[in-house]
Amino acid sequence: MTRMAATRDGYGQALLDLADNEKVVVLEADLGKSTKSLHFRKAHPHRTISCGIGEQNMLLVGAGLAASGYIPFASTFAIFTERAFEQMRNGVARPNLAVHLCGSHGGTHTGTDGSSAQSIEDLAVFRTLPNVVVMHPCDDVSTRALTMQLPQLGKPSYMRTARNKTPVLYDGRENEIKIGKGIVLREGHDVAIISCGVLVSESLKAAEALAEEGINATVVDMHTLKPIDGELIDRLVSQCGALVTAEDHNVIGGLGSAVAEHIVANSFAPLEMVGVPDRFGESGQADEMLEVMGISAPYIAKAAKQAISRK
C-alpha cells in the first residue's frame, strides 16, 4: 500500500530539521497550522515571528532579517503570497535577499475551500522574478529534501506545497533530490510526460494506462520550474520526440510554459500542455477538481497520444 502524505507536512518537518542552524527563523501570517510551520513555532518560539494576517509586512520583515544575516522561512497560502508579490519583487528578489517563501494549498487540488483559495497562477508570477528559484515538489519526502537545501541556496525561493495527501514516491530516496534537477521516474521512448506537484502521481497513472496500450512513456518529476532542467528536457526530446507537461496550475505561465520556452530555443518537439484551462476553480473534492479541470490521469494519457500523433 502506497504511503500517502501532504507536501506541506514535509515542509513543516524540514523546518524542524533545520532548527539546528541558529540563523534559521520562521515567519508566519496566521496560517502556521495550515502551512505546518507550527511545529517550529512550538519548539522555537523565540525564532518565530508572527506577522498577523499581514503578508506584505511578512515578506519585508523577512528581507530585513536576510539582510542582517538570518535565513527566513515565510509561509502562507499560495494565494496569499500573491498579495505580497510586489514586496517579493522589489523588496526580496531585486536586492537578491535569500528569503524562502512557501505557499501551501496551491492548485485546484486544494479542494472544497473553493476558488478563492486555489492558487492557479503562483508558479507563473514568481517565475517571472529574476533571482527567484521556483519549486513545486510532489511528495513530502522531496519537499523535505528540497527545503533542507535552501539555506545553502543564497538567493530567494518560492515553493508551492499542497494541502491534500498524495502518494509518497521517494521514501528512502532523499539523496536523489536536488534543486534544479528533474527526476526520471519511469523510462519510455514514445513520449515524455513532464509534471510537477500533485500531477506527478497522475502522470505515473497515465503512463501505466498508456503501457497497456503499448505506448511507453517517460515520466519526469520536474520539481524545480526555475531554473528549469534544460539538459534533461533536451535528452527527453531526443529520446522521445514528443512531450507532455502536466500541472495543477493555469496552463498559462507555469511548467508548460517553462518547458515550451526551453524547447523553442533549443531542441524542438511537439508539446501538449495539460493544465488548468485558464479558468477559476470551485468547491469540490481534490480528485473531483482534477476531473473538472481536465488534468487527471486520463487527460494526461490523451494528451500523450496527441503529442505522439504530431511527431
Partner: protein
C-alpha cells in the same frame, strides 16, 4: 559624534547644494522631499548613527532605511558628506552604471541598507532589521525614514501594528511630514486626520518637532534614542517644508519630482550662499 548646532546647519547647507546640483545635472529627480528631510538626515548621521564609512558592511552597524527612496539625493548628499561615497560619485545620480541610482539601492551604493523605490516597504524592512538585532542580542538600532504621503499605503500599518506587538524598542522612525505628495498636497489626496494619535493608538512612542530647527531635531533624536517606553517602537514626527531652503520650491507640489532649469539653479545657488547675487 559631537557637533555644534552651527556645524550641523553647515553640513545641511552643503547637502542642500549637492541635492540641487544632482537634480539639476540629471534634469530629473526629487528635490522637494530631499530638501525637507536633509536637516534630519544631517543630524542623524553626524551625531547618532553608529556606522563606519570605511567599512559600510560592518555587521553590527545601525541601519538606516530611507523608505521614501525617491528622496535619494538627500541621502546621497549625506553619504558623501560622511565619506561613504565621494563627491565625484554624486555625479553618477541617474546615470547608467552609477552608484547613485534614481532610488536608493543597497546593491549599488555603499552605506545604503535598503533598496527602496516602492513606498510603504521600509518600515517592514526596518522591523526585520530590528528583529535581527534582538536575535543577535545586539544594541544596534534600525532607523527608518518615512514620508507622510507614504502612510496611505496599508502595509505601513501592518508594520506599525507588528512592531509594537513585538515590542521592538530598537526600531526608530522619523516621519518627514512635508505635507505634499506626488500629485498634490496630502490633505487633498487623502486626509490625514490626527497623525500623532494614530501612532499612539498603535502603541508607539510619539514626539513632534520642527524638522528644520536643529535644536529641536537634536531633542527629537534624544527622544528616539531613549523614549519613555523603551520596549516600544518610537516615531519622531518632524514637521518640514517640502523644498525647504529654496524659496521657489518651498510648499510647491510641482517640485516633488521636477528639476530646476538653469536660471532656477542659479537662483538656488545664490539662496544657499554658494554664489553672490
Amino acid at each position: 559624534m559631537s557637533k555644534t548646532i552651527e556645524e550641523l546647519e553647515e553640513i545641511a547647507r552643503k547637502c542642500r547644494v549637492e541635492i540641487v546640483k544632482m537634480v539639476h545635472r540629471a534634469q530629473a529627480g526629487h528635490p522637494g522631499g530631499s530638501l525637507s528631510e536633509i536637516d534630519l538626515l544631517a543630524a542623524l548621521y553626524a551625531t547618532r548613527m553608529r556606522v563606519r564609512p570605511s567599512d559600510p558592511n560592518w555587521s553590527d552597524r545601525d541601519r538606516f532605511i530611507l523608505s521614501k527612496g525617491h528622496a535619494s539625493p538627500g541621502m546621497y548628499a549625506i553619504l558623501a558628506e560622511m565619506g561613504f561615497i565621494s563627491h565625484e560619485d554624486l555625479k553618477s545620480y541617474r546615470v547608467l552604471g552609477g552608484v547613485c541610482q534614481g532610488h536608493v539601492d543597497m546593491k549599488w551604493c555603499p552605506g545604503v541598507d535598503f533598496s527602496a523605490g516602492s513606498l510603504g516597504m521600509g518600515l517592514s524592512f526596518g522591523m526585520g532589521c530590528a528583529s535581527a538585532a534582538r536575535l543577535d542580542k545586539s544594541d544596534r538600532r534600525a532607523f527608518v525614514m518615512i514620508g507622510d504621503g507614504e502612510m496611505q499605503e496599508g502595509s505601513v500599518w501592518e508594520a506599525a501594528m507588528a512592531a509594537a506587538h513585538h515590542e521592538l524598542g530598537n526600531l526608530k522612525v522619523i516621519l518627514d511630514r512635508n505635507r505634499i505628495q506626488n500629485d498634490d498636497f496630502c490633505e487633498e489626496q487623502m486626509r490625514m486626520f490626527d497623525i500623532p494619535a494614530k501612532w499612539k493608538a498603535f502603541g508607539w512612542n510619539v514626539k513632534e518637532i520642527d524638522g528644520h530647527n536643529m535644536n529641536e531635531i537634536m531633542e527629537g533624536l534624544d527622544f528616539l534614542e531613549a523614549p519613555e517606553n523603551s520596549n516600544g517602537p518610537s516615531i519622531l514626527i518632524a514637521h518640514t517644508i517640502k523644498g525647504g531652503g529654496i524659496s521657489y520650491m518651498e510648499n510647491n507640489p510641482s517640485f516633488h519630482g521636477a528639476a530646476p532649469n538653469d536660471e532656477q539653479f542659479h537662483q538656488a545657488m545664490i539662496e544657499l550662499g554658494e554664489v553672490e547675487a
